[in-house]
């Protein structure tokens, strides 16, 4: 196993396919994808509905496993790992941002940001401090005790962004992070993502919004499970 090394690409896909077995036959959501994302890149993923963007993101996030092909995450082959190890990789190396925020309503802002710390294999004495700093970074330093229901959509997404960063992941994956927001709020979220990119984070963001492409360092288009251009 190759140790994670600074020079290895953050993401390297070799001939990745994802085929769903359906009663009516096979559906190839992704076919033979080859893709390399270097560390520090900000990649936008665009494409029509049903083209396989979410499928790709799930694979990148180790929530799903490819039907064939190899996936190297930070140089480490993660194509066929057992479930527990995939959980650990998601916990340590991946930050998720969802379209619908996915905050836990019973928990406060701070507690929501802390969730990934819960599942770390080692106790992290600086975790709380980092969570507070991230909340401040996304502009919610004064709302640590608030519940998600007391926040606007934009604020909830900021909490989700802080949560995705709390374990200092290798890559951050966002599936239409502005999809549920009005354009002004959406722009604010995009500028937070842009700020993350400037600080050296690796981002993969699915979007329908062309303006994301202006922020990103690179844009790929997916059509029918294949990368175009």
């Amino acid at each position: 196993m190759v140790a994670q090394n600074k020079k290895a690409p953050a993401i390297q896909l070799e001939e990745i396919s994802r085929i769903y077995q359906m009663a009516a036959g096979e559906v190839a959501a992704l076919s033979k994808i080859n893709l390399t994302v270097e560390q520090g890149e900000y990649m936008a993923v665009m494409g029509p509905s049903g083209s396989g963007k979410t499928t790709l993101l799930n694979l990148l996030g180790c929530l799903d496993q490819p039907s064939s092909g190899r996936y190297y995450l930070g140089g480490e082959d993660v194509s066929a790992l057992p479930d527990d190890q995939l959980s650990e990789i998601r916990n340590r190396k991946i930050g998720f941002i969802f379209q619908s925020y996915n905050l836990i309503p019973e928990l406060t802002v701070l507690e929501n940001i802390e969730i990934p710390l819960f599942y770390r294999s080692h106790n992290d004495p600086d975790g709380l401090q980092r969570a507070v700093r991230l909340a401040e970074m996304v502009g919610l330093g004064s709302r640590l005790d608030h519940r998600p229901a007391q926040l606007s959509g934009g604020q909830q997404q900021r909490v989700a962004i802080a949560r995705s960063l709390v374990n200092d992941p290798l890559i951050i994956l966002a599936d239409e992070p502005t999809g549920n927001l009005d354009s002004t709020t959406g722009q604010e979220i995009l500028s937070v993502l842009h700020e993350m990119h400037r600080q050296g984070k690796t981002l993969v963001v699915i979007t329908h919004d062309v303006s994301v492409a202006q922020h990103s360092s690179r844009t790929i288009h997916i059509v029918d499970g294949r990368i175009k251009g």
Binding site: N58, L63, D83, S87, R90, R92, F96, I115, F118
Partner: protein, 424 residues
């Protein structure tokens, strides 16, 4: 250090979500509460009742064989004896013949009648017992003060009496009594001994306890010459006369294993001389065994009821846990995406179920200890909460949390994270 932290965190999550749905959790847990409480309470009541029964039987002496005179059922067509005298029961000759059975160690003959006992102007209806000195040993009566009558008193037909604690209290309400004189009919007796209080704690068996406490014991030799063998009974307005020589013969076997053979010897001997069924043979040991058997059956019935009520409680837990899983499918997906392993999810939900049922168990234990105390206060019935019954009930309720929480927890952990995250 890794396991406790991981455990503690998932437990925390479980607790939080329970607190969030506290009313519903409490309602769900009522099944367990009542299951556990009723088990402990019923066990306590059963234990108390059987303890009383066993105490009463033990007071009769566990090696003893008791033969009692009983009035035979009136035969149809056959009118009672001339002059309305009913003659039945055990005879002194029976007593002497039974003495020849070699496996017997000790024996006593008794006459029991209701007589008013006087002390100056005070009087009280007591139980007059005429017997041998050996009777005290046979039923292990213990003295509070003074002495019991002995073979000398018997031989010389002394006018001495040993009184029960209750009777002493009634006749000497200001205290004392030992050495004083009491009167039954026209005969005076010196009180040489006072028995200790024999009422079984907690009441319930008040009838027998009172009888014991209101007895006055006089040597049979003394009493026989003074009272004769007639008994006058006021029954339904008409005076009825009965002629009973002995009311009871108490015999003690040498060993427990001798009892069955001895009983059949006694029975055969009595059958030869008694045409009518005017006696009954009682074996306290057998009663004791019966009581134990009854208690075993009672415990089995109780166990079944407990099992059913706890099963119902368990199904309640499973129900709310399944609902809890359904409600939080997205949360489960999210937690999985953020790094929760399957076992983290299992422990989160399992700890929720166990905490729920353990809380139910704890409330049930408190209630189950409280109820018997209340029953005792209200009815005077004796109840015994044994140490192990709350412990066992609590352990079972916690185990129910594990058993019935496992399936929902497992199904939560097995959810596909992607599907779970997509759930609306």
């Amino acid at each position: 250090m890794m396991l406790p932290i991981f455990f503690q965190r998932n437990l925390e999550v479980g607790l939080k979500s329970l607190w969030h749905r506290r009313l519903r959790s409490l309602l769900t847990v009522l099944g367990i509460v009542f299951g556990v409480a009723s088990v402990i309470a019923m066990l306590a009541i059963g234990e108390g009742a059987s303890y009383e029964a066993q105490q009463r039987i033990k007071q009769m002496g566990s090696l003893n064989i008791i033969v009692r005179s009983v009035k035979p059922p009136a035969e149809a067509g056959k009118s009672s004896q001339p002059m309305g005298i009913d003659k039945y029961g055990l005879l002194k000759s029976d007593f002497y013949r039974l003495q020849t059975i070699p496996s017997l160690r000790q024996s006593a003959q008794l006459r029991r009648t209701r007589e008013t006992v006087w002390q100056g102007e005070w009087s009280f209806p007591g139980q007059l017992v005429l017997t041998n000195p050996s009777y005290f040993q046979l039923v292990s009566l213990s003295l509070a003060s003074g002495r019991l009558f002995n073979e000398n008193d018997y031989l010389y037909r002394s006018n001495v009496a040993v009184l029960g604690a209750g009777l002493i209290q009634k006749l000497f309400p200001l205290g004392g009594g030992l050495g004083e004189t009491v009167r039954v009919k026209r005969n005076y007796y010196r009180v040489i001994g006072i028995l200790s209080d024999r009422s079984i704690s907690g009441g319930g068996s008040t009838v027998s306890a009172e009888n014991v406490n209101y007895e006055i014991y006089i040597p049979l030799s003394t009493g026989m010459s003074q009272f004769g063998e007639f008994i006058f009974k006021n029954e339904g307005g008409s005076v009825q006369r009965e002629w009973v020589e002995l009311h009871e013969i108490v015999m003690k076997a040498g060993r427990e294993s001798d009892i069955p053979a001895t009983v059949s010897l006694i029975s055969a001997e009595l059958k030869r001389s008694h045409k009518a069924a005017d006696y009954e043979i009682m074996v306290p040991l057998e009663l004791l065994k019966q009581a134990e058997q009854t208690k075993r059956i009672f415990n089995i019935v109780l166990g079944s009821i407990a099992a059913i009520s706890l099963l119902v409680g368990g199904i309640g837990i499973m129900n709310i846990m399944l609902a809890s899983v359904m409600e939080r499918i997205r949360e489960i997906g999210l937690r999985r995406a953020l790094g929760a392993r399957k076992r983290d999810i299992v422990i989160q939900f399992l700890s929720e179920a166990v905490i729920l049922s353990a809380i139910g168990g704890a409330i049930g234990v408190i209630l189950g200890i409280f109820i018997p105390a209340l029953v005792t206060r209200a009815t005077g019935m004796k109840t015994i909460v044994t140490v192990w019954s709350p412990i066992l009930a609590f352990a079972i309720s916690a185990a129910i949390g594990v058993i019935f929480g496992f399936y929902p927890a497992r199904s939560a952990a097995e959810l596909d994270p992607i599907t779970a995250l997509r759930n609306e």
